[in-house]
Amino acid sequence: MNSLSKLRAQETARVAALFLTPVFLILAIYVFYPILESFRISMYDWNGISPNKTFIGGDNWKDLVVDGHFWKAFRNNLTIMVLSIAIQLPLGLSLATFLEFGAGHKILKVYKVLWFVPLLMSSVAIGFLFTYALSTTDGIITTISKFFGGGNVDLLGNPKTALFTVIMVICWQFTPFYMVYFIASFTNIPYDIYEAAVIDGATRSMYFIKIALPLLKPYIKSAAIMSLVGSLKYFDLIYVMTSGGPGTATELMATYMYKESFSNFNMGYGSAIACGMFILISLTALFTLKVLNRRNTDDLI
């Protein structure tokens, strides 16, 4: 009997290994190996084309640690992260709450559909759309400003406003995502709870603050984590809109890495930036998970 169960366990393990092989094969080729390779390349001075690369040990890393450009990019990433969470989540939640409380009104369905549309567009398309929509000579903002007797408005070309403008575009893109996400979360609150609250004489705002919000907390947390990791990896929209400019005003770790590797052909240093980015993101993600985990273990993921 004992040997039979052992045999079955062996059989299970064998089938499991067989079924897991394809996924691991692909992850190994396209994720694990490239990560190691990037760390290796980061120790060379190499333009990516010529066959001779020079081993320079930790020089790229020493440069990276004191590279103001890189840390500026990281700070921009953090700014995007903080403002994304601070704007998109509350806004998404408000929109979802509005739709939830107004359920039944036909017109709200129209609102919901139209609010969702930005999410259908790719980041690249949004980037281009806003580059033109915010253009200094005939963009939307300039048109409005001229209507009120003002002059041309240059939001993306001004280092003071560029980052903030880009963040607004990011919020425009992703708020609908959090809206839909919170609508789905609302449906997970049992209807009985709402009924019970109403019978006990709760007003809608009381229900929202005292009952719905605490019940939505785990969803808000995981939304925050998604937004956090996403903001640190951000690339395409900003690369298209400003490619990090003017100056370093909207530079991100990813855009800096891309330009350094594929425009300046400093693949060694580009790899070092990519590895630095990888380390910073992993640390941030681990730290956040730890902090949030301390309060409640199974809220996550």
Partner: protein, 282 residues
């Protein structure tokens, strides 16, 4: 009674404010689209002289004609081919991986699952240079085939996560009955679990499909010539060609948004559900 009336009045005012705010957001959210569609029907100089929000005098279709004759469908076709192949591979291997992770009890199930899920936070940029070199080495550089591997690989973590939690919800009894009838584990997968996972797989297809359809970084790095590029890069290439011609770019943008709008109209709820699948707590 008085306080009740007072309450109703208060809630009416609240609603009025809420609707005004909601409408403001609605305007913010659709103005760029109005800008895009209106100007795509204008002639280049009409936009400059008449202003961006004027209604086009005649529906000028030459922008669209020129975009389409400039090989737009080639991008479209490339995107479709890459998407179809990548999705088939992805869905099959992810189903294979989710099966043991959700239905078997073996020692390494939990750590393997965590390892795969942890890959979600890996930025694609750390793999960009090695993958670029790899594609060159095996002759895939500037071919659409180069995109399939990275697309599948970076979709694996979240897809495995979603599908594993889906498969966990399939009742155990079916599997046990099959086992009693002499069905082995492999056969159980193909005959029972895989077919029963169809709803989960279709959600995944939407979620990953949208992401792959819009992917930019790998496509931009691994392909170069126009005939081998995907749809997000069409915008990039046309932009290089018609920098100053805003209506032309708006036509490209409108055209590239069109497939998604059509899908959205047909499968509204399913699409919305699929696109937020990655966010659903397991």
């Amino acid at each position: 009674m008085i306080s009740y009336k007072h309450e109703i009045q208060k809630s009416r005012i609240c609603w009025a404010i809420a609707i005004i705010l909601a409408t403001c957001y609605l305007i913010i959210s659709i103005t760029p689209f109005i800008f895009m569609v209106l100007n795509s029907f204008k002639e280049r100089f009409e936009m400059l002289t008449k202003g961006v929000f004027s209604f086009p005098e005649t529906f000028y279709l030459d922008n669209y004609k020129e975009v389409v004759s400039g090989g737009f469908f080639r991008y479209f076709l490339n995107s479709a081919v890459v998407l179809a192949i990548s999705l088939c591979i992805l869905l099959f291997i992810v189903a294979c991986a989710a099966y043991p992770l959700s239905r078997f009890r073996f020692r390494f199930a939990a750590p393997i699952f965590s390892l795969i899920v942890a890959c979600m936070s890996i930025p694609i940029h750390i793999t960009l240079i090695p993958v670029f070199k790899m594609s060159q080495a095996i002759g895939f550089y500037d071919r659409i085939w180069a995109l399939i591997g990275p697309y599948v690989a970076f979709a694996i973590p979240i897809s495995t996560f979603i599908l594993t939690s889906f498969m966990k919800s399939i009742p155990k009894e079916l599997e046990e009955a099959a086992e009693i009838d002499g069905c082995g584990k492999i056969k159980t997968f193909f005959k029972i679990i895989f077919p029963l996972s169809a709803p989960g797989l279709s959600t995944l297809a939407i979620y990953d499909g949208v992401n792959m359809w819009n992917e930019f970084s790998f496509a931009y790095t691994l392909t170069q010539s126009r005939e081998n590029r995907t749809l997000p890069l069409a915008i990039w290439d046309y932009q290089g060609e018609f920098t100053m011609n805003t209506p032309m770019i708006m036509a490209v943008l409108t055209l590239s948004l069109l497939p998604m709008i059509i899908l959205f109209i047909i499968f509204q709820d399913k699409l919305v559900k699929g696109m937020t699948a990655g966010a659903v707590k397991g």
